[in-house]
Symmetry: C2
Subunit: 498 residues, 2 copies
């Protein structure tokens, strides 16, 4: 584990948000309330949904008998006790798996609830993003306006126990399950704060907490940056707020950042894209099984300032709809890496079940304005920009000392780190040569460690700490900086054309 | 792919036998005919099976409705056409998966047939073991007494087409499916034989072919070696034949080789073990869900000569029963590697389905004579002996040229190969240093290649060919030789005690 490192922390925070929000992975949901018999939609989509919910037959007699026979055989003969509900859930999971579509899933009650929270962009809890550090649950940050923030919980606080139950030894998901709870319920947190000897107790009443899916800031040269972490139901409104605020500050160009954004609600991304695509032009097309296409056209208008979009291989689904729409219908430049490649639309069916379970089923393809299906292909950026290699470097195994003439992946990682913090190791292929040894010695001298040329635990930790500083330095976010530079260039070009 | 290399060929032959026989992996089967309603056994096992087939209820109304609703939702809404039979098979697969037991499986008709052939130790076809070499189907060896052998098919023959259908470009499984067919049907094979210019045609009438699961030979010093590749229904009889033959040749000690033997039929291994375990002593105990134990006692007697068993991490299930019985009840020495660790018994249910499908369900644990459950643990050998590392080396990527100062897994493999064929590379960690270069040059000179010190395609092929010779040399089978030496030692010790 990468103690406190931002690369890892970022991953782990995302992991946690996965628990809290995007538990079900890449998603592009059409939200509409189904009638109990799945007869039709009542909102969200329109004509296309007429094809949704056409009734097919349930189980035929012989089909029910075969499934029943299998169930009987298992229950009567298996060498351990069998949970019948698990078998039935397994049967539905198995049907979904038979489709061979990773985006069609069956969810039991608990998972279904988390999925709904993800779509809604809010959940009930204390509202703290947490991560796991050396087996301890550490607060990354309390969410703005949340019960946790109001109670005074701070970043770096370590949560030792909840309502008397220790979190020690639990994995992050299990710990989060204990911290969360229904609105109105009380969580008594015992917390160890860095710098204070004794532990502190917090009484926090859980409440509905909005996930922060949109953040913005104004960069130099009048470039506004809006980061969208996922497209939840409340993301459209939040985006409009942030955009308005940036515009009122005199923004001259906009960079939208959807890196690592796994997707969300179709109507929300259409709404956001509509703020940049000229009225009446295509945002996205949705094609059903029969090949019938539904066109989603912009009801908004284009902006007078240039717009660019930052994406990477974690940008999926709704993020790719936004990328396609901005590129093909709004003339925006796409910057960064090839996107994920998910070109299908799902919808949820839960009213048909009375036990809280839910089926998420792929109901359609979506196509970009020019009619291409990017599924399993992704979208190519106009400007290919990668992050420095050290953004993705793995933490070192502190148990092993590394030295001259060794050869391993850990040596590669040390070499990448050395280069990142300014000590040229000569090579980055995992062979610990004399040049690498020299670079280690230089780093050790500068870090006031014994210049042994050997990477022991202390040196490894110092190297990682130095690396984290580099990663945290916004100046090193190559993609972001290239994106901002591109917007600046377009602002200038626009000005000179006037 | 490792062209013609024995390691790989051996793997691929095994792979093929998987197709022909052990398609369903590790298995320990209790064979008995179930009544259509699974009411009881009629052979094979005894008292324990009274617990098999106690009837439970089929699908309840609400359960059938939930499954039916899921099926309806999928059929009505999924964005592609859906094969209803696949969904139902998926449902049963899903139930089996919910058990979390890799040995409980649902098989459709074709897989079920192959499984039955595996249990029976015979199949219908031409009877040639084949492998894939550079995309061509090459005969490894025709099975003794098979139609293929009678027709004159030989090792190294390449099968180009069957009944006019080319095998080129098919994967091995697909090619085998074309070669096989029902008893009495004709296969016209077009074959390219090494050394002959034009292709040859063979007309072969397919027949039932017995898999050769037992082979034996007499080594020096009167040590007999019997290799069992799997425990099929006909393996017991074949084992008795081979044992009798060795004994009639004056065998003084026996080494049984169950390396890479994935298991088979419970009654068969009990029968084989019974030839070495003193009468009335425990061979294996089978424990059902309720904790009730069935003891299987030897009806045979111990042998006057010493017996040892050779096993490795591919020795599973019935092989481990044999290992446990011989070690704990017959005083045999276990030699080689830690065994696989599969301590459960399965049985098949197919009479309940009228469409040829089959459920293989784990019905019990088995315990060694001293009562230990080796599941997921395996059995420790008395003498730990590993094969040389080059037995497991991966083939080289011929597209890449390897040279001084490079660093990769392919370099590691080159170094392992160099050492195996007698050119000490200095290191085996993947760094191509001067010593490795020197070893490559020496190898090249000895092989009449240009001594460039660079591993190009030609050198790589020569190196692999030289390695294959080493692997094919029985003198290098460290485990086997140690096993034979151990038996010799025991023969001597027995003689001196007399």
């Amino acid at each position: 584990m990468y103690k406190g490192g931002e690369t890892d922390m970022k991953k782990r925070s995302v992991l946690l948000l996965v628990v809290v929000s995007m538990l079900c992975g890449m998603v592009l949901t059409m939200v509409f309330n189904q009638l109990p018999d799945a007869a039709g939609p009542d909102g969200g989509g329109t004509g296309l949904l007429a094809s949704i919910g056409k009734k097919s037959d349930g189980l035929e007699q012989d089909e029910a008998e075969k499934l029943g026979t299998a169930l009987e055989i298992i229950e009567s003969n298996y060498y351990k006790d069998v949970d019948r509900d698990k078998l039935l859930d397994g049967a539905i999971n198995g049907m979904m798996e038979a489709l061979g579509d990773p985006y069609s899933n069956y969810m039991g009650k608990v998972t279904a609830e988390q999925f709904s929270e993800s779509i809604e962009g809010s959940f009930s809890g204390i509202g703290a993003e947490v991560t796991s550090v050396d087996g301890y649950v550490e607060v990354v940050s309390p969410i703005k306006g949340s019960p946790a923030e109001k109670a005074g919980l701070r970043a770096k606080d370590v949560i030792l126990s909840v309502n008397g139950e220790s979190l020690q030894g639990l994995d992050l998901n299990a710990a989060v399950a204990k911290i969360r709870g229904p609105k109105g319920s009380k969580a008594v947190l015992t917390v160890k704060r860095p710098g204070s000897e004794s532990s502190i107790e917090f009484q926090i009443t859980r409440d509905d907490v909005d996930l922060e899916t949109v953040t913005s800031r104004m960069e130099a040269n009048g470039v506004g940056v809006i980061e969208i972490s996922q497209f939840s139901l409340n993301t459209g409104e939040r985006f409009a707020e942030e955009l308005k605020s940036l515009e009122s500050q005199g923004m001259k160009g906009l960079l939208i950042d959807v890196r690592n954004n796994p997707g969300g609600v179709l109507s929300v991304v259409i709404d956001i894209a509509g703020q940049f695509v000229p009225k009446g032009e295509l945002i996205v097309q949705v094609e059903n099984k029969a090949g019938k296409r539904e066109e989603y056209l912009s009801k908004g208008s284009s902006k007078p300032y240039p717009v660019a979009l930052l994406m990477n291989k974690g940008s999926a689904s709704a993020s790719e709809i936004l990328a396609g729409a901005l590129q093909q219908s709004a003339g925006a430049v796409l910057i960064g890496e090839h996107s994920f490649g998910k070109g299908t639309v799902q919808t949820s069916f839960d009213k048909q079940f009375d036990d809280g379970s839910l089926l998420k089923v792929t109901i359609a393809k979506w196509l970009t304005p020019n009619g291409s299906w990017i599924h399993e292909k992704g979208i190519e950026p106009d400007l290919q920009v990668s992050q420095p290699d050290y953004f993705a470097v793995a933490p070192l195994d502190k148990k092993q000392t590394l030295k001259f003439d060794m050869n391993s992946e850990d040596v590669t990682n040390v070499q990448i780190m050395l280069e990142a913090v300014g000590y040229e190791p000569g090579r980055k292929d995992g062979y610990y040569d004399r040049a690498t040894e020299k670079a280690v010695k230089s780093f050790q001298s500068a870090s006031k460690l014994k210049a042994s040329g050997i990477v022991d635990e202390q040196t490894a930790k110092a190297l990682e700490a130095a690396l984290i500083e580099e990663i945290q330095d916004p100046g090193n976010d190559t993609q972001l900086n290239r994106g901002i530079a591109e917007v600046v260039k377009e602002i200038k070009s626009q000005a000179s054309n006037k």
